[in-house]
Amino acid sequence: MRLEGVSVGYRRGRGWVRAVRDVDLTLERGVTYGLVGESGSGKTTLAHAVLQSLPAHGRLLGGRILFRGRDLATLGPEARRREFHRRVALVPQDPLPSLNPAHRVGRQVEEALDPSGRSTPELRGRAHALLEAVGLADPERVAGAYPHQLSGGMQQRILIAMALAGEPDLLVLDEPTTNLDVTTEATILDLVRRLVHDSGTAVLYVSHSLGVVAELCDRVAVLYAGEMVEDAPATRLFTQPRHPYTQGLLDSVPRLGSTRHEVTLRPIPGRIPPATDLPAGCVFAPRCPLAVDDCREATPALEATPEGRVRCWRWPEVEAGQADPHQPAPAGRLHAPAEDAEAVLEVEHLAKRFPLRRSLVELLRGAPRRAVRAVEDVSLSVRRGHTLGLVGESGSGKSTTARSVLGLEAASAGTVRLLGDELPRRLERRPASAIRRLQMVFQSSDEALNPYRSVGSTLGRPLRRMAGVPREEAAERVARLLESVQLPRSYAEKRPAQLSGGEKQRVAIARAFAAEPEVLVFDESVSGLDVSVQAAILNLLGELQQVRGSGYLFISHDLAVVGFLADQVAVVYLGRVVETGPARSVLSPPYHPYSEALLSAVPLLAPGVERARVRLEGDVPSPVDVPGGCPFHTRCPRLVGPQCREQAPPWRHGPDGHAIACHIPLEELASVQTALFGDGGAPAVPGATSEGGDG
């Protein structure tokens, strides 16, 4: 497939908004082509243009898309169906909505083999073979299931099976692992890698995740605000970027094993311009530290370089590392917190069960009341000025832990102590002073701020109520609060709809800090943000902690982010802490077998570097029927024997308060495990960022 000067637009009122402009791209057999960009870069639009599946208000505004030498625009609907759609396939981002809820999975796979909708024993056999090929162990059972009865990972495997059914010449993968847990993501990526290698088809892999692209792709194009800014072989792009934007992206991702005391992330200032309001000249110029006057006036062309293309006049300087595109940032500006700081928040044996309703029949039979055991046994301690990172996959109970600690949900058992005082379980029973001292920042999303209230009103309320700021001073204090999260004072007048995602999250952080809390709980607070914005927030959180001395309970599924920010880490699985200790100890052997699998699954920004692969089988068990013995025994790759199934594992204590709940002694674990990423950090990135860019 070849794209020549492709521009795609969406209808807005009477005009057209060009979401993708002038993209040339060639997809060849056997090559996996990565398309990376942040939200708003136009990568998904481009993928849909490639597949001819733009929504009704989208249209190809310029250029040609050639498939096997024929211009797709010249095909009629029937020809397009036979000669194009039968030869291309898509693996989409959300597996469940992409499957028809009313048909059994087997039928849908058969339909991919024969779109006329017939069902023959022969087709059924082929469908089963396909399901087996994508690693579904029991194809008979899976084929008879409806999509909603399967886990997210299995659904995605079904879609991959359907995509492969027609032996496509071109396979488009649109963020296929974005909504999956990291361990599931790793197995899906392994599968895609193997299948692509075996079939030799052309692949277009669209993702916002640099790590995933680095793991999988041979060649990578970087998209920014609808334009391709760089295109190069993966090994080259990640070690020697030529465009300042690529460089900036690489600098803003926390690497596994780097910490805030060693590294300061370097975010890209500003935000992606909307396609309705593009700057004159180079689209990246307003955010580019290298921009000169020429950049703001004329658009640079996509220039051929050795091995690739780049849209920047100053690329030789970037490549040679002569022009550090960013302001030099002193490495590790943040000093380590005091080792002997007192504990401000102590959680002991916290549990939260959501009882299920019993049916009338069960009630009459006197059946025991069953419950979703979201949190089984979590003990944590957050020290003044320290950050405790809580890591786990979805369903591990980390969000419920946060809500129970805060009293938004009343805990079923266990105690929460703030500054030594035990707190009532329900928020409404807690004294105002306790509420003030313990605050929370939610997952960054559009729900964080009330869309009907201005920023000033949102911030002024807690200032007056919790911090006791008199009304006359409120406006001034709101402005100071905004400045403390690096937003202009004028933002008090704005409404949430006028803010970008990162700005909204800054306001949410300011709201939590307004009460001047001792402890802050962050629940996936940076997960929804683009990497360049996330970096700025992470830096901000580090600085605010330094200044205010608050203790943080930082909850995330992202190990690199937790490793970057946390002093201590606790790993949770099915509502239990399985490993805890100083961040450095948790991130190096000996590992809990679950932590080992988690770490091994994290994609690294180092194409071509081999490392140990530890993969988990099956799905996380239901929290209604938690396995007995060690809860991890159903999936543990290092299962030792019947004691794992029968007995709860003992806590095994290492130095510095490092502890692992496992039947295997620490020494034995240490002897069989290897460090899962370079010597405490990812392999150094040579080039412009070698100093301070990495650990």
Partner: protein, 293 residues
């Protein structure tokens, strides 16, 4: 922030929202027509007595069963009453009965819905069980039963509308509250120790308003429908009041003699209901509220 400035800010924002709403409504011909017609009917209801040539009950025996003429643009009925004056007076009645009935239903439904569904637990359970059983009786049947016991009067008609539509409004409110109360900004407000009243009024209510506006318009159109039907069946507003449904019913007997006595009230009902429906449809589009069965 000084108080007056803040107040001015709020006023400015509110009027901005109104302007946006109007601009949205007038962006499409169908909702523009609906809004204009509905406004015209409302204006007529307000100005009624000052613009009509005769009183709605005035009889002119000399001019019985007259076809439309300059003196009586809509003609007169068999008792010599001016049809135009009666239609205009009926307009006022409809807004008074259907309008205030709807208003009561919306107010009570919103308050009960907000409080019960935010609190949850058995209060919510009981409230909505009662509402559900009210909804298990078809609206007109419920209205007839109530009128049968209360006896036909204008107050009964108003009460009937309120009773019949309160559960429906409460349901709409509930669906939004259940969606909103787990939103992070509501949790954030709770974590600032805000009272339930504040959370409901300032954090939850604004998200309910769009759906509520659409529902109110829809309810109003059904209320007009209901009042007219009751009048037609002879169990609502009683003669000699100028109720549109009643007028149609009375005119049926004279349809050969004086077809205009039937045409004009029937036309008035149809136009007003269609106008309010178009308006509700436009509101739904502008405020981006989804279709609900």
């Amino acid at each position: 922030m000084a108080r007056p400035a803040a107040a001015a800010g709020i006023v400015r924002r509110r009027s901005g929202a109104w302007r946006r709403l109007l601009r949205g409504l007038y962006a499409r011909p169908s909702s523009a027509l609906g809004a204009t017609l509905a406004a015209a009917f409302l204006l007529l209801a307000l100005l009624g007595p000052w613009v009509t040539p005769y009183g709605p009950l005035d009889q002119d025996f000399a001019a019985r069963s007259q076809p439309p003429s300059p003196a009586h643009p809509f003609g007169t009925d068999h008792l010599g009453r001016d049809v135009l004056s009666r239609v205009v007076a009926g307009d006022r009645d409809i807004f008074l009965l259907a309008g205030s009935g709807t208003l009561v239903a919306v107010l009570v439904g919103t308050l009960v819905g907000l409080a019960a569904s935010y609190r949850g637990g058995w209060v919510e359970e009981v409230t909505y069980r009662v509402f559900d059983s009210l909804l298990a009786i078809p609206a007109l049947l419920l209205a007839l039963l109530l009128l049968g016991s209360l006896g036909p009067s204008r107050v009964s008609v108003l009460a009937v509308i309120a009773v019949a539509y309160t559960p429906i409004v409460a349901r709409v409110v509930r669906s939004v509250v259940l969606d909103t109360k787990t939103k992070e900004y509501v949790l954030a407000a709770r974590m600032q120790g805000e009272s339930t009243a504040f959370v409901l009024g300032r954090e939850v209510l604004p998200s309910v308003l769009p759906a509520l506006a659409v529902e109110s318009a829809l309810r109003f159109s059904y209320a007009i429908f209901l009042v007219a039907s009751l009048g037609f069946l002879g169990v609502g507003v009683q003669p000699p009041n100028p109720d549109w449904g009643l007028m149609v019913s009375e005119a049926r007997d004279y349809v050969y003699l004086t077809p205009w006595t039937l045409t004009f009230p029937a036309l008035a009902i149809s136009l007003l209901v269609i106008a309010v429906n178009l308006l509700a449809d436009g509101l739904k589009r502008v405020l981006q509220v989804g279709d609900t069965p």
